[in-house]
C-alpha cells in the first residue's frame, strides 16, 4: 500500500517538476508547481510528517504560489523570454553547459547514494501525529526559540523590503 502510493506520488512529483521547468508558459509552471507541492505534501504524510505537509500546503500553496500567480497576472508575460534580446555570450551555449552541469550533478548524487547500502525506513506505528505536533511545538519554542525570533525579524524585513521595492516611485 505505502509502496504504491510512494511510487505514484514520486512519479507525479518528478513529472510535474520537469514540466514546471520545461513549460514555456509561466502560468502553467505555477500550477504544475502547485501540483508537485501537493504530491510532496503527500510524501510528507507518508513520512508521518502530516503537520509539515499541512504547513507545506498552507504556506506554499496558500500564500507563496498565490504571490507568484499575482505577479504573473500583473506582468502578464505568458510566453518565455519575452523581450531582452539574448546576447551572444549568454545565448544558447552556456545554457547547454548549465544543462550538462546539472546532469553531471544528478549523476554524482545518484552515485553517492548508490554507494551507501540502502537502509529501509524503520517501521512506523501510525501514531497520533498530534503528539508530534506537540513535540514540534515544544522543540520549536524551546530549543529553536532564537532561530524562530530571527525568522520573524527576517519576515518583517522582507515585507518592508518587498513593499519598498515594488512601490511605484511617486514622482
Amino acid at each position: 500500500m505505502d509502496a504504491i502510493t510512494f511510487w505514484i506520488l514520486a512519479a507525479i512529483l518528478v513529472v510535474s517538476s520537469v514540466l514546471v521547468v520545461g513549460q514555456r508558459n509561466p502560468m502553467y509552471s505555477v500550477f504544475l508547481l502547485i501540483v508537485s507541492f501537493a504530491a510532496l505534501a503527500g510524501l510528507y504524510i507518508q513520512l508521518d510528517a502530516s503537520f509539515a505537509a499541512m504547513i507545506q500546503i498552507i504556506v506554499y500553496v496558500g500564500a507563496i504560489m498565490v504571490l507568484f500567480l499575482f505577479v504573473v497576472m500583473l506582468l502578464n508575460v505568458p510566453t518565455d523570454d519575452a523581450g531582452g534580446e539574448p546576447r551572444r555570450m549568454f545565448g544558447a551555449g552556456p545554457r547547454r553547459i548549465g544543462a550538462v552541469l546539472s546532469a553531471v550533478f544528478a549523476i554524482e548524487l545518484a552515485l553517492a547514494l548508490v554507494r551507501v547500502v540502502s537502509t529501509p525506513l524503520p517501521s512506523s506505528d501510525r501514531g497520533a501525529p498530534v503528539a508530534t505536533v506537540y513535540d514540534i511545538g515544544v522543540k520549536l519554542f524551546r530549543d529553536y526559540a532564537f532561530a524562530f525570533e530571527a525568522t520573524s525579524v527576517l519576515i518583517l524585513v522582507a515585507m518592508v523590503g518587498a513593499i519598498v521595492l515594488a512601490r511605484k516611485e511617486a514622482r
Binding site: 555570450m89 549568454f90 552556456p94 545554457r95 553547459i97 548549465g98 552541469l101 546539472s102 553531471v104 550533478f105 554524482e108 548524487l109 552515485l111 553517492a112 554507494r115
Partner: protein
C-alpha cells in the same frame, strides 16, 4: 567624601553645557557652570577638613582613592588614583575657590556673547577646572599628565576663544605649540622615571628616590629632574618657554585670571613641589631652577616696566612672580614657593579681574595710554585694584609681603646672595611697574583723545566688536562709565579680602606667626617614611631628616634686616613710580627718549620672539616644507598610495571581465564549485 567628585562635578558641568548649551539661556548655562565648580569647591572643603582631622600615618597625611585600574601591562600598572595630601589640598582649594569666583565674575563679563558662545565659554571653563583638578589630585605621573595635557588643551581653546580674530587664533596656537616642547620634556622625564624606579606613583618614586644618595655630579636623577623642569618651564612660562604667556592675553580676561595667573601656569611649580624629594636629590637641577626662576623674574619685570597694554603688564608680572616661585623651589624653600603660589593666586586673579572690569567699562579698551582718571568713575574696581597692587608690591601686612619675604629670606639663608639681590631688585621693579599701571589707569586725566592722536592700536577684548567698540568707548568715554556689575563686584571684593588676609596662614616666626602653612605642607616635601608600595603592601623606609623649616641658622636679626630691605625695595619702587607717572608724567617720555635703545629693547621684549622665529621656527618651517611635505609626504607616501591605486586599477581592468553581470553566469560558476566538491568526496 569621594575625591572623584571633585573633578567629576565640573566635568558634568562641561558635558551639560557642551551638549545642550545652544539650547540653554545664558542664565541657565552660567548657573550650571558656577554651580558645578561651586559644588566641587564644597566637596574640596569637606575633603580638606577630613584631611586635617586625619591622624598622620608615618608622617604622611593623605586620602587615597583608586577609581579603577586604568593601564595594566606587564610591570606597568597605573590605577586611576586620586590622592589628597597637604600640598594638593592647598591646590584644590585655590583652584575650586578662586575658580568659582572667576566663574561668577565671567557670568557678567561675557554677557555680551550670544547664547551659544556663552555656553561654549563656560563649558571650556568647567572642562579646564576638571582637568586642573585631575592634575593636582593625580597620584601618579600619568594621571597628572592627563590633567597637564587637558589644561593645555583648554588653555588653547580659551585663548583662541575668539578664533575669528587672527591674533587670538595665533596666540592659541602659539601657547599650544610652545607647551608641546615642555610636554616633550615631561614625557621623557616620565619614561626615565619608570625606567629608573619601575613605578610612576608619586609616593613610590619619592620613597625609592630617597633610597638613592644625593647626586653631587650629573646623574640619572639630575637628568630626570631637568627634563621635568623643562616641562615646568613650558607650563609655567619660564625662560626659555615663557613667550606664549603674554600673547595668551588675547583670551578673555577672566581666562587670563584663572588659567594664566592663578592656576594652570602654577602647575609647573606644583609639579616640582610634588617631586620635591626627587629634586632635592639633584642639587644641580635645583640651582638651574633657581637661576632660571630668578632671571625670568628680572627679565619679565623689566619688560613689564614699559608695556602699554594693561593685560600684558599683568602677564609679565605673572611671569616674574612665577619666577619667584621657581626661585623658591630652586633654593629648596618648597613651602615658600607654594605659599607664594597661593597668595599670588589671590592678588593676581584680583588684579586681572580688576583690569577686566576696567576693560569692560571701557568697552574693550586695553591700552593704558587711553585710560586714566578712572578712580572716581569706577570706585569698587579702583579700591580692590589698589589692594591687589599693594599686595603684589609686597607692602607689609598684605599677603604678598609674607610670601615674597619668605622666599627672599630663604634665598639669602641658602647662601645664594646674588640671586637674593636680583630678587630684591625684582621686588623693586614689581612695585614700580604695578604702581605705574595703577597711576596710568586710575589717576590723572582721561587721555583717550590724546592717545587717538598717537593712533595707538586698541586691543579689542570683545570678540568682533573689538576695534569698533573701542572707538565707541572713547567716543562716549567722556560720559559716565558704569562700574563693575554685581557678580563682578562680588568676585572682586572677595578676592580683595583674600589678597589682604591670605598671607596670615604663613606668618613667619619672627613676626610671632609660627609659620603654620609651612609646617602643614612640610610632610609633602619629604619622602614618606612608610610608603604603600605598588601592590598595596607596606615598605618601611629609613626615617629621613626633618625638612628644613623656617630660618635655621640665621638669627632673627638677619631676618629683620632682610625684611627691612624688601620693604624698602617695595616702597622705593612705589616712590619712583609716583615720582615719574604721578607727579609729572613728562619724565616718562624724556627718559624713554634718553635711553632710547634700552626702551625699545624692553618694548620689543628683548626681541625674543623674533630670535626664536629666526633660529627655530623658520628652519623648522623650511625643513617641513621642502623635505617633509614636498619630499616625504608628496613624493614618498602619496607616491606609494597612488601606485597601489594604479596597481589595483590595472588588475581590476583584467578581472572586470569576470564580472559579466549575468546572474546565470555567476550561478553557474558557483555550481561548478559545488560539483567539484561533491566529486572530490566521491572519488576520495
Amino acid at each position: 567624601m569621594s575625591l572623584l567628585l571633585i573633578p567629576l562635578l565640573p566635568l558634568l558641568g562641561f558635558l551639560v553645557n557642551a551638549t545642550l548649551g545652544r539650547k540653554l539661556t545664558k542664565t541657565a548655562s552660567g548657573t550650571i557652570a558656577v554651580a558645578a565648580i561651586g559644588a566641587s569647591f564644597g566637596v574640596a572643603v569637606m575633603v580638606v577638613w577630613s584631611l586635617l582631622h586625619q591622624a598622620p600615618i608615618g608622617g604622611v597625611r593623605a586620602i587615597d582613592q583608586v577609581v579603577f585600574s586604568w593601564i595594566q601591562s606587564g610591570p606597568l600598572s597605573i590605577p586611576l588614583e586620586f590622592r589628597v595630601d597637604p600640598l594638593s589640598s592647598v591646590m584644590i582649594l585655590v583652584i575650586t575657590g578662586i575658580g568659582s569666583l572667576i566663574h561668577l565674575y565671567s557670568t557678567d563679563y561675557m554677557h555680551d556673547e550670544t547664547d551659544g558662545e556663552y555656553a561654549r565659554y563656560f563649558s571650556y571653563l568647567n572642562l579646564f577646572a576638571a582637568f586642573m583638578l585631575v592634575l593636582v589630585l593625580g597620584a601618579s605621573f600619568p594621571i597628572m599628565f592627563v590633567g597637564w595635557e587637558g589644561v593645555g588643551l583648554c588653555s588653547y581653546l580659551l585663548v583662541g576663544f575668539w578664533f575669528t580674530k587672527q591674533s587670538a587664533a595665533d596666540a592659541g596656537k602659539k601657547a599650544f605649540v610652545v607647551n608641546r616642547v615642555g610636554d616633550w620634556g615631561f614625557i621623557l622625564g616620565m619614561a626615565a622615571i619608570f625606567a629608573t624606579f619601575h613605578t610612576l606613583d608619586f609616593q613610590q618614586v619619592a620613597f625609592r628616590a630617597s633610597q638613592l644618595p644625593i647626586e653631587t655630579s650629573v646623574g640619572i636623577v639630575t637628568g630626570i629632574t631637568l627634563l621635568l623642569f623643562l616641562g615646568a618651564t613650558g607650563k609655567s612660562a619660564q625662560i626659555p618657554l615663557y613667550v606664549w604667556l603674554p600673547d595668551a592675553m588675547e583670551g578673555p580676561t577672566p581666562v587670563s585670571a584663572l588659567i594664566h595667573a592663578a592656576t594652570m601656569v602654577t602647575a609647573g611649580v606644583y609639579m616640582i613641589g610634588r617631586n620635591a624629594v626627587l629634586f632635592s636629590h639633584a642639587p644641580l637641577t635645583l640651582n638651574v631652577v633657581a637661576v632660571i626662576g630668578c632671571l625670568t623674574a628680572l627679565m619679565a619685570g623689566t619688560i613689564g616696566l614699559v608695556q602699554n597694554d594693561i593685560k600684558r603688564v599683568l602677564a609679565y608680572s605673572t611671569v616674574s612672580q612665577l619666577g619667584y616661585m621657581f626661585l623658591a623651589m630652586g633654593v629648596g624653600a618648597f613651602a615658600g614657593g607654594i605659599f607664594h603660589l597661593y597668595t599670588h593666586a589671590f592678588f593676581k586673579a584680583l588684579l586681572f579681574l580688576g583690569s577686566g572690569a576696567v576693560i569692560h567699562a571701557l568697552h574693550g579698551e586695553q591700552d593704558m595710554r587711553r585710560m586714566g582718571g578712572l578712580r572716581k568713575e569706577l570706585p569698587i574696581t579702583f579700591w580692590t585694584f589698589l589692594v591687589g597692587t599693594l599686595a603684589i608690591a609686597g607692602v607689609p601686612l598684605f599677603s604678598g609681603f609674607f610670601s615674597k619675604d619668605e622666599i627672599l629670606g630663604r634665598t639669602f639663608a641658602s647662601g645664594h646672595t646674588v640671586l637674593w639681590a636680583i630678587g630684591v631688585a625684582t621686588a623693586f621693579l614689581t612695585a614700580t611697574y604695578m604702581f605705574r599701571l595703577l597711576y596710568l589707569t586710575f589717576f590723572g586725566e582721561r587721555r583717550a583723545a590724546a592717545a587717538d592722536a598717537h593712533g595707538a592700536p586698541a586691543h579689542g577684548d570683545d570678540h568682533g566688536r573689538g576695534a569698533a567698540l573701542s572707538e565707541a568707548g572713547t567716543a562716549e568715554s567722556k560720559g559716565h562709565l558704569h562700574d563693575a556689575p554685581m557678580a563682578m563686584a562680588v568676585a572682586l571684593v572677595v578676592l580683595a579680602v583674600g589678597a589682604v588676609f591670605a598671607g596670615y596662614v604663613g606668618v613667619p616666626e619672627t613676626l610671632g606667626g609660627g609659620n603654620r602653612l609651612e609646617h602643614y605642607l612640610a610632610p609633602s616635601f619629604v619622602a614618606p617614611t612608610i610608603a604603600a608600595d605598588a601592590n598595596g603592601g607596606i615598605a618601611v623606609a629609613p626615617p629621613v631628616p626633618e625638612a628644613p623649616t623656617a630660618a635655621e641658622g640665621e638669627s632673627a636679626g638677619t631676618e629683620w634686616m632682610l625684611m627691612g630691605v624688601s620693604v624698602l625695595a617695595a616702597f622705593g619702587g612705589i616712590g619712583l613710580a609716583s615720582l615719574i607717572w604721578f607727579r609729572n608724567p613728562r619724565i616718562a617720555d624724556t627718559m624713554a627718549a634718553r635711553f632710547g635703545v634700552l626702551y625699545r629693547t624692553l618694548l620689543g621684549k628683548y626681541y625674543v620672539d623674533e630670535i626664536y622665529d629666526a633660529i627655530i621656527v623658520q628652519p623648522i618651517k623650511r625643513v617641513s616644507t621642502f623635505f617633509l611635505w614636498r619630499g616625504v609626504d608628496a613624493g614618498l607616501i602619496d607616491g606609494t598610495v597612488n601606485s597601489v591605486g594604479f596597481a589595483v586599477r590595472g588588475s581590476s581592468a583584467v578581472l572586470r571581465r569576470l564580472q559579466t553581470g549575468s546572474v546565470r553566469a555567476y550561478a553557474m560558476s558557483l555550481f561548478v564549485g559545488v560539483i567539484v566538491i561533491v566529486g572530490y568526496f566521491l572519488w576520495r
